[in-house]
């Protein structure tokens, strides 16, 4: 009897399968169908976003070149104690002769020279000089190497090779943080004269913050005006905001050069008005100021639009109610209007800040020497110095920095409070 009740209680579909299972099956099917729809996007993001980032992470530590080309040498060096104060034994030199000969015929040995030259200047020419003759070296090889170049008789040369013998290296990160190895293998800060990247990271952050602040101060009243004017007029003004947004970045940047340069429109005007003398023309471009002015202008729409979309949703009755209850316009603004726009401020600020942290073209054109940002140096190491490892590690550090700021922002403001549109 009890059993009977239990079986009749389970609702079944027409073909006798319990409804629960049938429902789950149907839901799973539609879930899979839904997943199929996002699959192309997922594959796209994987290919164009995660794979390159993973590749960058790998490149910033990857060091296969040295152990691959100096295969025998690095294997022999394992047995040599770099603190013994003595040169490596003859076997290491014999192995090096083998590697140099092979590397010369395969045209790979000088890549290693260039690689190690990042660590200590002079390795490129040391390898070049040695590779040409290694074929003719005769035993004892130690003497043959040292005769070719006396640097082979220095312990520091071998210490460096031993240090960089692994398939992975931290040396790019050390360079990116203005650190260097001493010959003994300790990590210290570089000479004051050669420190550059920490300063650049700091400059990138502070200029980005300044640009964000300027954008906010300029965009807030504009967005307010746009959201309160009658639609006919505000649409017209909106076009004025969007028109520069649709204009080529290069055109806008070069127009700023024409405006701000020493023989440019603004300086001419100031001289014409007698406010400055002809010799005292202001330097407003090819420096940090140029970067700040041009980037503020370029990024302004990214601030105006989120602010506008938030302000548009604030009913005018709020302010009227506040005033009705006795608040002065200032108090009403601070206590009622402003708190309602915080989500727009947050969205606009994080948008502008993160875009400007990675900005490249505008600082390259108008930044001069003190207005260039870290991305300009990443580009330099990608295309000119060809130190891709260093470029990758600078990129990774920048990524970590952005993620940290994003995390902080989430803790303080909350990502869910952001409103983009």
């Amino acid at each position: 009897m009890v059993e009977n009740v239990a079986t009749t209680d389970i609702v079944k579909t027409a073909d006798g399968i319990p409804l629960k299972i049938s429902l789950a099956k149907a839901q799973r099917r539609s879930k899979i169908r839904g997943m199929m729809l996002v699959l192309p996007l997922f594959a796209f993001i994987l290919l164009t976003f995660f794979v390159p980032i993973f590749d960058m992470l790998l490149r910033s530590v990857e060091n296969h070149l040295v152990p691959d080309v100096l295969e025998h040498t690095t294997r022999e060096l394992v047995n040599w104690d770099d603190r013994s104060g003595e040169l490596p034994p003859e076997e290491v030199f014999a192995a090096a002769k083998l590697d140099f000969e092979k590397g010369h015929s395969e045209r790979t040995i000088l890549r290693v020279g260039r690689r190690l030259n990042y660590e200590v200047p002079g390795f490129a020419s040391l390898f070049r000089k040695t590779a040409r003759r290694a074929k003719n070296f005769e035993s004892p090889y130690k003497e043959a190497f040292i005769e070719r170049d006396k640097r082979w008789g220095e312990i520091d040369t071998w210490r460096l090779i031993k240090r960089e013998a692994g398939a992975f290296t931290m040396s790019y990160y050390f360079s990116a943080l203005d650190l260097e190895y001493s010959p003994e293998g300790n990590v210290n800060f570089k000479d004051k004269d050669s420190r550059i990247y920490l300063k650049l990271f700091w400059r990138t952050l502070s200029l980005s913050a300044l640009i964000t602040l300027l954008c906010l101060t300029l965009a807030y009243p504009i967005a307010y005006l746009l959201s309160t004017l009658p639609l006919r007029i505000s649409n017209l003004l909106m076009i004025l905001v969007l028109l520069p947004f649709w204009t080529s970045l290069l055109v806008r940047t070069t127009s700023w050069i024409a405006l701000l340069q020493q023989e440019g429109v603004i300086n001419d005007l100031l001289v014409g008005l007698g406010l400055i003398t002809d010799d005292g023309r202001l330097a407003m471009i090819h420096n940090a100021m140029g970067t700040v002015v041009a980037m503020t202008h370029i990024l302004l729409p990214f601030m105006v639009l989120p602010l506008y979309s938030v302000m548009k949703t604030i009913p005018p009755s709020y302010m009227r109610a506040a005033k009705n209850l006795g608040a002065t316009p200032t108090v009403a603004f601070i206590r009622v209007y402003f708190p309602n726009t915080v989500s727009g401020i947050g969205a606009g600020s994080i948008l502008v800040f993160i875009i400007s942290i990675g900005y490249y073209i505008t600082p390259a054109l108008v930044g001069g020497t003190d207005g260039t940002l870290i991305s300009n140096f990443i580009a330099y190491h990608m295309s000119s110095s060809l130190n891709w490892g260093l470029a990758a590690s600078l990129g990774v550090l920048l990524l970590i920095l952005v993620l940290m700021l994003y995390y902080l922002y989430d803790r303080v403001v909350g990502i869910d409070n952001m409103k983009f549109s």
Partner: protein, 366 residues
């Protein structure tokens, strides 16, 4: 039914193959990479157009990527898809590409045409073949131009670049240590033959930076060769360094009030390299043989004021193609211009470039 389908399939593929075959015989696209602007235009006129006239099936496509040649060839080689047939590069790039195994070594006498008098190519180019992968085209120099109307007395030597009393005003220098450190030391009284020995010491580098310090506030740093002519034309600087061909065009073609100051011009070389694994190798070699012969190198000088790299081309340099002026006196190699010249030390810079660029950038940021 099945048979018919097979037959049509076979016929179809035969037609397809036929079309592709004909297309191949008709059209070969050869990608040649160079610097763009007036320089590519001079190569188009002097090399590409006559070569295409001789080989109607060849279509030369210009790609203006030489500034990033090394990084792009390295990337293409890593992806195992080299699409460039021939690349125009400066000597230091060619040396690096050769050392990294990314450019092909060339047997100069087997590939290139001898001089009209029978001198083998390797002798005709002489010591300008600075790498076994490199076929030099032109000698160019980095030198100074100044505004004739904005200076009280014209600069006559490299010392005047560092002399703010004699020539007040901004000067444009390239935003890298190469060349600037050498000039600073020469202006500081170092014997030009000893420049690299001095730079090899810590004190020597300090000395060069100290000399640059004296004019640092008055320097506008340029990154692209076109910037200095523009800065000079705008009156933003009173003098500045750039490539001599750029100054020629702003002086002679645009008639700006600018003049040359050749003292201690720094010679550099530009020429061809063949990327390893590039397409149409035989055609590339045929092109190289044609485009680097004595007459072709002399022809290029009709369009731009860079000196041909072959000794045998020098007597054939004629007049400018449109301006009609004699080009020989505008060559950096002309005796009147080449009283004091420096060929910078490629090997030394290959060793020290990374280190000194870092120091230079730190110095700029101070």
């Amino acid at each position: 039914m099945k048979k018919i389908r097979q037959k049509t399939l076979a016929l179809g593929s035969a037609i397809m193959l036929g079309i592709m075959g004909v297309a191949n015989a008709q059209e070969v696209d050869l990608v040649i990479v160079s610097w763009g602007g007036a320089y590519t235009a001079s190569q188009q006129k002097a090399y590409h157009e006559p070569f295409m006239a001789m080989n109607p099936n060849v279509n030369i496509i210009n790609d203006d990527s030489s500034a990033e040649a090394v990084s792009k060839i390295r990337a293409m080689s890593e992806a195992k898809n080299v699409t460039w047939g021939l690349v125009d590069a400066i000597a230091s790039q060619a040396i690096q590409l050769c050392e990294e195994g990314l450019a092909e070594p060339i047997d100069h006498d087997a590939v290139l045409a001898p001089a009209p008098d029978g001198t083998p190519a390797s002798k005709d180019f002489g010591d300008l073949i600075v790498s076994e992968c490199f076929i030099p085209n032109i000698v160019y120099s980095t030198t100074f131009g100044y505004r004739t109307d904005l200076v009280k007395e014209p600069p006559t030597s490299i010392n005047d670049v560092f002399n703010l009393e004699k020539i007040p005003g901004k000067r444009a220098l390239e935003k890298k240590p190469i060349v600037n450190l050498e000039w600073a030391l020469i202006a500081d009284g170092v014997n030009p033959d000893d420049v690299y020995d001095v730079l090899d010491t810590e004190e020597g580098v300090d000395r060069a930076f100290a000399k640059l310090d004296t004019i640092k506030d008055e320097v506008v740093w340029w990154e692209k060769g076109a910037q200095t002519p523009q800065l000079l034309a705008d009156g933003e600087v009173v003098m500045g360094s750039t490539y001599n061909g750029r100054l020629f065009s702003v002086i002679e073609e645009e008639k700006q009030p600018i003049a040359m100051m050749w003292d201690w011009q720094v010679f550099d070389l530009d020429g061809w390299i063949v990327p390893v694994g590039g397409p149409h190798r035989d055609l590339v070699m045929e092109y190289l043989n044609f485009a680097t012969d004595t007459q072709r190198l002399a022809d290029q000088a009709k369009y731009i004021s860079y000196g041909p790299a072959r000794k045998s081309s020098a007597p054939l340099v004629g007049k400018h193609a449109t301006l009609g002026i004699d080009m020989a006196p505008h060559m950096p190699t002309a005796p009147a211009n080449a009283k004091n010249t420096l060929l910078y030390n490629y090997e030394w810079w290959a060793d020290n470039q990374d280190d000194l660029t870092e120091r230079f950038n730190a110095w700029l940021a101070q």
